[in-house]
Amino acid sequence: MKKKASFFKIFSVSVIWLWLGIFALTPIFLTFITSFLTSDSNSIVKLTPTLANYSDLLNHAYFSILLQSLYLATSCTIICLIIGYPFAFIIARSQSKHRSLLLLLVIIPFWTSSLIRTYAIMAILKAKGILNGLLLALGIIDQPLQILYSNMAVLIGCVYDLLPFMILPLYTNIEKLNQSYLEAAKDLGANWFTTFIKILIPLTMPGIIAGSVLVFLPTMTMFYIPVLLGGAKNLLLGNLIEHQFLTANNWPLGTAISVIITLFMGIFILIYWRNSDEEDRESLV
């Protein structure tokens, strides 16, 4: 009996390791290796080791792309947090019979490809689109707003696309939160603002961080939303990588940028890890 159980244990753990090894570690490893190779227009790469890909990145044009991406990712995360937190709070505190319906509504957009939903946003935002039509009809504006093909449109697109990733971890966190903490704060004379700042935010910090990471990281490397909604005027990191792979055919440079981004994310997670204790991290999972 015991032998059987341990066989099952070894079997299932090895399957997980095999899966991770093939589908997660190998691609990362290949990316890492490629970033130290030389680009070649005939075959994809030449097996000549070089650091040139990284030194190329010191170019100030790349640096401004990095800044721009950071700016977009940061604003997108903050906006998602501002919209997502009350949203998650209301769902988590609503009656249980409404709760699953509300959660379903958050998840439904995932049933359609993100690319198609981005086209839908174009239809809403364009000069003769739904939004302008509505505003004109209501007499709020007298000429169409030029939102599409601006940074604003990219931001709207990213927020729309990634909002569920903010809401879901926050929801899980708030839902688990013992109501009596909030009652205790009230009992001790705290107004809603104090309760929010001193109790609610610290206790839901794992959810806030999880949501922020899940929004921040994809925004950094988002490529089709800037292309479709931003009109490819502003190149972001995602576009840059895509461009290196698909247009410039410079895989080593593309992988070098990817490695840098991965390092960036790694540092973020490390900082969080250092500043959290075991319990916080457990509640994150």
């Binding site: 009596s180 009652e183 205790a184 009230k186 009992d187 001790l188």
Partner: protein
């Protein structure tokens, strides 16, 4: 000194279709230790939440210190609560937890420090001020929760089953500590529990609740010795209940037939013949006599029985005695100097009686 601190007047509460509390009125005096006792779902926590302000009553008014607070939110009621799960803020130290209420009142940090350390000394936790709640034992967390509430100098402290998470010995200690703390602070405690022993040993008055009704409110002695309903008699301690008809009444006496014996009992409630009544006798009020302990003529007012089971409990021996009708009663015999013969054995024939007047007689209640 003994003015009314809390008054509930005709208060009731419904949750959806569920009547959690039927119209109830209570008056609680200043400095009283009052316990709301009942099984889960009896409405005791509802009463507490109505007083604290976390729920609003559907009908009735709530007065605290003479002021109508029915529509006031919890933070404006000058009460504090010790929650069942303690609800200590896990991200704050013991000190910050206790200081939380004072900081909300914008009291100077110097004054806060003095008051927090004072109260931590009172609950013997001054050494642990910088610990986080999860580094404390259950009993210590309990004391932090009490300190956090009491430091705000509430006029009434509400305690929602604060001892239920502790193990037996610790619970005993905390009962004594709580009672001492209440005497020292001189403030009113409203304590909710489902443990009848806890309720009896700590309270000045006990309110026994059942299915949203308050069955009886009285001193522990009252509710134990003079229960006003079968429910209370059964809930508080053990009770042997005989249901029978009054045969006749004379001179403050009523005559009933129990197990074929006619017994004349005190008629304290002016009951009349032909009434169905419940005669209730506590196990410790029943005396069990061995056949060779008494003379046959002494058994006139005694009930015959056979010992079914002997349960040795240390300070008492509990006997389950089967009467001729098959009814089983519980008798608790204390060890004492005069009566050394307590070695009953099963199937032994015995006689049982009780001191006349120690029984409680209640009008018949329909079983719902």
């Amino acid at each position: 000194m003994t003015h009314n601190i809390i008054e509930l007047a005709g208060v009731s509460k419904k949750f959806g279709n569920y009547q959690a509390l039927h119209e109830t009125s209570i008056t609680i005096k200043n400095g009283e230790f009052i316990t709301l006792l009942g099984p889960s779902g009896c409405g005791k926590t509802t009463v507490l939440r109505l007083i604290s302000g976390f729920d609003k009553p559907d009908t009735g008014k709530i007065y605290i210190d003479g002021r109508d607070v029915t529509d006031l939110p919890p933070e404006k009621r000058h009460l504090n609560t010790v929650f069942q799960s303690y609800a200590l803020f896990p991200h704050m130290t013991v000190y910050d937890n206790v200081a939380f209420g004072l900081r909300c009142k914008k009291i100077a940090e110097q004054e806060i420090q003095k008051r927090v350390m004072d109260i931590l000394r009172t609950v013997k936790l001054e050494q642990l001020a910088e610990r986080k709640p999860n580094q404390l034992s259950g009993g210590q967390q309990q004391r932090v929760a009490i300190a956090r509430a009491v430091v705000n100098e509430p006029i009434v402290l509400l305690l929602d089953e604060p001892l239920s998470a502790l193990d037996y010995n610790l619970r005993k200690d905390m009962q004594i500590e709580l009672k001492q703390l209440q005497r020292r602070l001189g403030i009113t405690f409203i304590f909710v529990t489902h443990d009848q022993e806890e309720a009896l040993s700590m309270s000045d008055r006990v309110a026994i609740m059942n299915e949203g009704y308050m069955e009886q409110l009285g001193t522990p002695k009252d509710v134990y010795e003079e229960p006003t309903s079968l429910y209370v008699a059964n809930f508080i301690g053990e009770a042997n209940i005989f249901t029978t008809e009054i045969i006749e009444t004379y001179d403050n006496k009523l005559v009933v037939e129990i197990e074929g014996k006619r017994l004349a009992l005190n008629n304290k409630k002016d009951l009349v013949a032909k009434y169905m009544v419940h005669v209730i006798i506590r196990p410790e009020d029943i005396t069990v006599w061995g056949e060779n302990e008494i003379l046959p003529e002494e058994t006139k007012n005694m009930l015959p029985g056979i010992v079914e089971q002997v349960i040795y409990k240390g300070s008492t021996v509990d006997l389950i005695v089967r009467l001729p009708s098959g009814k089983k009663i519980l008798a608790a015999e204390f060890f004492n100097e005069d009566d050394e013969k307590l070695d009953y054995h099963t199937t032994e024939n015995v006689w049982v009686d009780w001191i006349p007047g120690w029984e409680v007689i209640l009008p018949h209640e329909e079983k719902s």
